[in-house]
Amino acid sequence: MTDTTQETSGPMLAADGTPLKRSLAKALRAQKLRALALIAPLLLFVLITFIAPIADMLFRSVDDSQQGTVHGTMPLTAEALKDWDSSTGELPDNAVFDAVYTDIFVAAENKLHTRVGSRLNYERTGSSSLFRKTGRGLDDIGEVYQDQFEDLDPDWDEGTPWAELMGSPDWLTSMQGWEDGQPLPPFELRDGVADLLPRTAAIYRVFADFQIEEEEKSLLDEEPWSIVHTRLYEDLRDGDFSTYAGPRADMVKAADALVDTAEFETIALKDGFEAIDEDWLDIGLWQTIKAYSTSYTAGYFLNAVDMQKTPEGVALRDENQRIYGLLFKRTMFMSMVITFSCIMLAYPVAYLLANLPMRTANLLMILVLLPFWTSLLVRTSAWKVMLQQQGVINDVLVWIGIVGDDARLVMINNQLGTIIAMTHILLPFMILPMYSVMSTIPPYYVRAAKSLGATNWTSFWRVYFPQSVPGIGAGSILVFILAIGYYITPEIVGGNTGTFISNRIAYHISSSLNWGLAAALGSILLAAVLILYWAYDRIVGIDNVKLGG
């Protein structure tokens, strides 16, 4: 009865009259916030210096929209290629060549065309040189027109007449009043010129913005790019200028008349591109450009598993370009060999450490830790001295007479070298967890087993060994995960056959600068480790892993 009265009389109240539940929640929240504030510096530090850069780097494996990609630097081309069906086997039409002409011309002025070339070179070797040549050669197309206009009237090759034709009167006035050191007035098109000369106006605007913002030069002194003359020709060919009466009307009308004459020399864009490099008429090139013109791409991941995008869908790369599958397999296999040899070598040492009297064990411990404290590079270089053909081991073997002087063993710059050096370097990571587990195994279990009649072997195998398995597990995970991402040691002693996938990642990060591919390879490696970890958890159980007593 009393219970119900309490319930009906409302929630329990704290001393200040607020409901107890809320007051408790408030107190707890304050506590949580305080705790969060305490770890906030570390959390922020980890987020900013660790998580964010990694996330940013991994994001590059799908991002294809930065400057220097087809999407980022050749937007017109990307747009124009959308209408082109890459599987028909026919070259794209003139509209696409037109877009490429503008895109590469502008990119070359900004010195970005080489980066698009490098980007496409990751997918199709030969693209880099093609874009470099094209960047240099595109002027040849525009100069056909530029020269003829200039012969007609030298004003066509001067900055001021062009500025008068294209710019608005207001802008022109402020431009003429401009002096060195002042900010340049932003360019404005003259009213109506965009209708009169649509293509010329569009490209002139790009030219004007570039001169003002990038070069900070006066348009009155700068002759326009050769592409402006190409566009002028196209406008004059298509338009009617008989009624035009704006600035420079005589110049425009004379040029219009010239364009209509039979002697006026023209060049088809396609031919112009062919003259620069025949590759531009190769359908495969266009397929590649189209396939990599989206802002997000699976291309890097496909590349990381030796595949590529083709018009018929995803396919394996050519035999001589397939290397990543081989490297992943090699990395896995060698990491396993290294882990296994670490177990074999570490187990007896850890056993001794755990079972010897304290004084001797301490000495042994120092011997284990000493190399651990030595610089990784020093240890690896020391192995180089030991293992090379004129090295210590070979010299000793020759001196004893086991091998002949002309048949010295090759133990370095191959897989063997990597395995030996890495086993040595990772050994402490195996010994220490094993030791910490073994030192907690009570000695009387084995004694009890023996007193019950077990042989030495049985008491070890049936009683001692099962209790030491968690140490083996912990050590194996540590060693395997460290080994799979190892870089310096294989680089120095691995030669060609003993390098890991991480060496390839390093190559793409620091030499070829294919960061997208490096990020994709890194993501795959990370995923592989997580899957192995998960599998280990399912099979052995992560609770059975002990890093300490």
């Binding site: 900004n110 010195k111 080489t114 980066r115 070339g117 490098s118 070179n121 990751y122 070797t125 030969g126 693209s127 880099s128 040189s129 470099r132 040549k133 960047g135 001589n320 370009q321 290397i323 081989l326 490297l327 090379q388 053909q389 004129q390 710059n413 030669g495 060609n496 390098t499 390839r504 190559y507 620091s510 030499s511 070829s512 600068l513």
Partner: protein
């Protein structure tokens, strides 16, 4: 209160001092990071350029970075990150052209920035054809050639004469060391596969040519150790780890003459190339001013000739050549050790740096994939 006063006084002093300092140095940065190739070559630059410069300009400190072999990649990365930490970079001609195309190196008016010769010849005429790009300030002519262990030569076998002997495993068994990059290796492979000297680059431009070159290299792939820093092949030769190695001729010179190693030179088809400075684009004004001041000094006629007294690379200025005489420490004549000496090789290969500027990325990708297989 007292503390604040002291602090104020100190900072006022510092400001005054640095003001006076800046005046004498014309608003130039006092630190400079130079990038070079390490080893004997960098040492020669240090002795011929950097030390006299520092002795002349009080308080200037120069930091060296041995990253020239990765200069293009690192400059691209620095540009991406928007933080240029280098002031002056020593690169090969083809890399200078590439960096110039990519807008990563600064274009330079050679006559304005560089000193004229003592006879008053303009820098651009004095350097002449060596100026292969607007961004490139030539320093030396060097060659990539071969060294071999004289003590590992089997009895009665003639000493190797040059590049093609690398591919001859029967006469000259043993390990070889080659540069871990396509340049020079691809040309030699084609040349030794029977291609005429004049056709090498035309053939290398084609898919089949590249496959052919790699196939030729395949024949010695198992026996080859690939080096990436220019000190490595010398070390491998000195240790006796390899029988033959491609290396820069100046490094071989210092191993043979200065360190007395049992190494011989095989000059045939040595690969001529140019090396010089580039200034990264986008340096702040004070650092740029310092770099220009240093460049003016370090590339004058005398300094270039001085460098040749430490290492056997030919100076890039015409006016420096007559000043090259004897080794600074050993006193021997330098001329017979120069790659340009007519006695050294009947056949020489001139690296087509313009071609490489275009094709380097393409062939790098192919070559590295081939290596990884």
């Amino acid at each position: 209160m007292k503390l604040t006063k002291t602090l104020l006084a100190t900072s006022a002093l510092t400001v005054a001092a640095s003001g006076a300092f800046a005046e004498s140095h014309g608003n130039m940065a006092m630190d400079m990071t130079l990038v070079s190739w390490g080893g004997a070559y960098q040492a020669s630059q240090q002795k011929a350029y950097a030390e006299p410069y520092m002795a002349m300009k009080d308080g200037v400190s120069i930091t060296w970075d041995e990253s020239s072999s990765e200069a293009v990649a690192k400059l691209r990365a620095m540009n991406e990150a928007g933080n240029i930490t280098w002031d002056l970079v020593d690169v090969e001609a083809a890399d200078a052209i590439r960096l110039c195309d990519e807008g990563l190196a600064m274009e330079i008016d050679h006559d304005e920035v560089l000193a004229a010769s003592p006879d008053g010849v303009d820098a651009s005429d004095d350097f002449g054809d060596m100026i292969v790009s607007d961004c490139f300030i030539p320093q030396i002519v060097f060659s990539t050639t071969f060294g071999y262990r004289t003590d590992q030569l089997a009895e009665g076998v003639e000493a190797p004469s040059g590049a093609c002997d690398v591919f001859d495993l029967e006469t000259y068994p043993g390990k070889r060391a080659l540069n871990k990059q396509p340049t020079a290796n691809m040309e030699w492979a084609l040349l030794c596969d029977g291609v005429e000297y004049g056709d090498v680059y035309d053939i290398l431009e084609t898919e089949e040519g590249q496959t052919r070159a790699l196939a030729k290299l395949d024949t010695i792939k198992d026996q080859t150790i690939w080096w990436s820093s220019s000190a490595e092949p010398i070390q491998l030769l000195a240790d006796g780890e390899v029988f033959m190695a491609s290396a820069y001729n100046g490094r071989l010179f210092s191993a043979i003459v200065e360190q007395d190693q049992p190494i011989g030179m095989a000059w045939e088809w040595q690969m001529f190339d140019l090396d010089g400075w580039i200034v990264p684009e986008g340096l702040p004004e004070d650092r740029l001013a310092r770099v220009m001041d240093f460049l003016h000094f370090a590339t004058d006629t005398q300094r270039l000739a001085d460098q040749a007294a430490y290492i056997s690379y030919g100076p890039a200025r015409e006016s420096s050549a007559p000043l090259v005489s004897t080794h600074a420490e050993l006193g021997i004549e330098m001329a017979p050790h120069m790659p340009t000496d007519p006695n050294n090789a009947t056949n020489t290969f001139v690296n087509n740096y313009n071609w490489w500027a275009d094709y380097r990325d393409d062939l790098d990708a192919k070559f590295q994939a081939w290596l990884a297989q």
